[in-house]
């Protein structure tokens, strides 16, 4: 019987483990990937200060701390079911059952699928898949590609592909269909685009900040969006062009690009064939929260947090006795926030109340200073879920 089992060795799970080990709890961290680090491993971007955020290095810092405290981390272990028992939880894995008094689920986020015709062809992948291949495995995903879906994550990863020397034709929207919805709406995409303006070098920054404040001006920007796209790091970003079809027999050979109206409707007669050998689809992130649901934790749908999230309070407790959550399962934010949330959860599990309070302040400070923000109303979303917790107290 463990004191605590932690599912997920991303920044949230690792920092929680460190906080628990400081109090000498008997901790086991499991992760289904081949190495610890979670989505942090693939991250690589330049902060507005010019400094690089190198996920591999950041992971190593966490692992060094965890190892210095003799933390038990097992990789290659998937959890597929959890049972609540009187003394705690039974975690079902591909390596057998684990019994634990307390349980932290830090399973992170998943990418929303954005299906467009041809998307099952080999060579089509999610933008996150390309990130992991490029930065973690150091394998080229192709020779020339295109990114379908314009948002914070896809812009950051497109830049990472460029840095690794991979040629991208451009970024464009997916064609509008009942599933692609907002991702295919130029106006909605524009709203998101202005929030990442600060990460781009000057040309785009000037462009973005010009339109950031005023919704009316933004509308005009969509209407008169340049035909050749707006260049970010030399690569055109199109919000008035969409990919209507991915073509190929056994693998990706080309895409069909069309012009779209400010509402995302195809303008007939504008089809253009672009030769590429890979396509990255980017539909944004949502909390990967099934495990919390399986064990019976109540949920709320909170758009600002990225979807359905388990009900929890500010110290990461759920209404279920001994069940905690931390990181992107509680809402989509950057790795720095996830890491800080893990520390809160770890101290809460170890019942170190004074440290919990300090760690909670730290989360807020990091959120304030975040250079990548996935949703502008994150704080409102956090307030909603914490209020929901009160209903169960």
């Amino acid at each position: 019987m463990f004191d605590v089992v932690i599912i997920g060795a991303g920044p949230a799970g690792l920092s929680a483990a460190i906080a628990c080990r400081e109090s000498n709890l008997d901790v086991l961290v499991i992760d289904e990937f081949t190495q610890p680090g979670g989505r942090l491993l693939g991250q690589l971007h330049q902060e507005p200060t010019g400094e690089w955020w190198n996920g591999i290095k950041e992971t190593q810092i966490l692992l060094d701390k965890a190892n210095a405290l003799n933390t038990n981390i097992k990789c290659g272990i998937s959890c597929h079911h959890i049972e609540k028992i009187d003394e705690g939880y039974i975690v079902h894995t591909n390596d057998g059952l684990l019994k634990t008094k307390k349980l932290l689920i830090a399973s992170g986020a998943a990418e929303t699928a954005v299906p467009i015709p041809g998307w099952t062809l080999p060579g089509v992948m999610s933008i996150g898949a390309a990130q992991v291949m490029t930065n973690v495995h150091r394998v080229e995903v192709g020779k020339k590609g295109i990114v379908v879906g314009v948002n914070v994550l896809s812009a950051a990863i497109a830049r990472e592909l460029q840095i690794a020397g991979i040629d991208l034709h451009s970024m464009a929207l997916p064609v509008s269909n009942p599933v692609t919805k907002d991702h295919a709406h130029p106006g909605k995409v524009m709203d998101g685009l202005v929030r990442i303006a600060h990460l781009a070098p000057s040309a785009f920054l000037r462009f973005g900040s010009k339109f950031a404040q005023n919704a009316k001006v933004r509308e005009l920007a969509v209407k008169f969006y340049p035909k050749g796209g707006v260049k970010m790091w030399g690569m055109p970003i199109h919000i008035r062009k969409a990919i209507s079809q991915i073509n190929g027999t056994d693998k990706v050979e080309s895409v069909t690009m069309v012009d779209v109206t400010p509402e995302g409707k195809i303008i007939p007669g504008t089809e253009e064939i672009i030769k590429v050998d890979f396509v990255c689809i980017a539909g944004g992130l949502y909390p990967l929260s099934e495990l919390a649901s399986v064990v019976g934790c109540p949920f709320r749908y909170i758009e600002e947090l990225g979807g359905h999230v388990p009900v929890h309070n500010e110290q990461m407790e759920t209404p279920l006795d001994g069940l905690y959550v931390a990181g992107n399962i509680t809402g989509i934010e950057s790795a720095k926030v996830a890491r800080a949330q893990g520390t809160v959860a770890g101290y809460a599990i170890a019942e170190q109340q004074d440290k919990v309070e300090k760690a909670k302040e730290e989360v807020k400070a990091i959120r304030e200073a975040a250079s990548i923000q996935f949703h502008p109303q994150i704080k409102a979303g956090r307030a909603k879920i914490h209020r929901a917790f009160q209903e169960y107290a």
Partner: protein
Amino acid sequence: MTTNRIMNHPVLGKLENRKTVTFTFDGQTFEGFEGDTIASALLANGIRQLRVHEETGAPRAIYCNIGHCFECRVTVNETDTVRACMTPIQNDLKVESGKMQPAPFNTSPENWPRTYAEYEERNKANKDGDSNV
């Protein structure tokens, strides 16, 4: 083997001193680096296609590369439905692509288990030992 490798990266540095691992895919021998998954080692060798759709035979490859979509399922040492993107390569690993099946989805949804408890009940006989309890 290094054709599709990013050997030099301006920020992450050079790929150096990687140990080579040998495995087979559909009977052909491939090399990858220690730390590769089946999916990354194959892509480094220029192989994208991991299986065909069980019913239509349409080619498939990785989609999410982080274990969520199961598009990369292959057979590893006779075990089927193994995720190529989550499985590390090892010397002598025998990997086979997913094949077309005669009638793969020939069950009616009315007969599917409705809950996990129901699924477990039906599969009691083939349950693994409770090694860690």
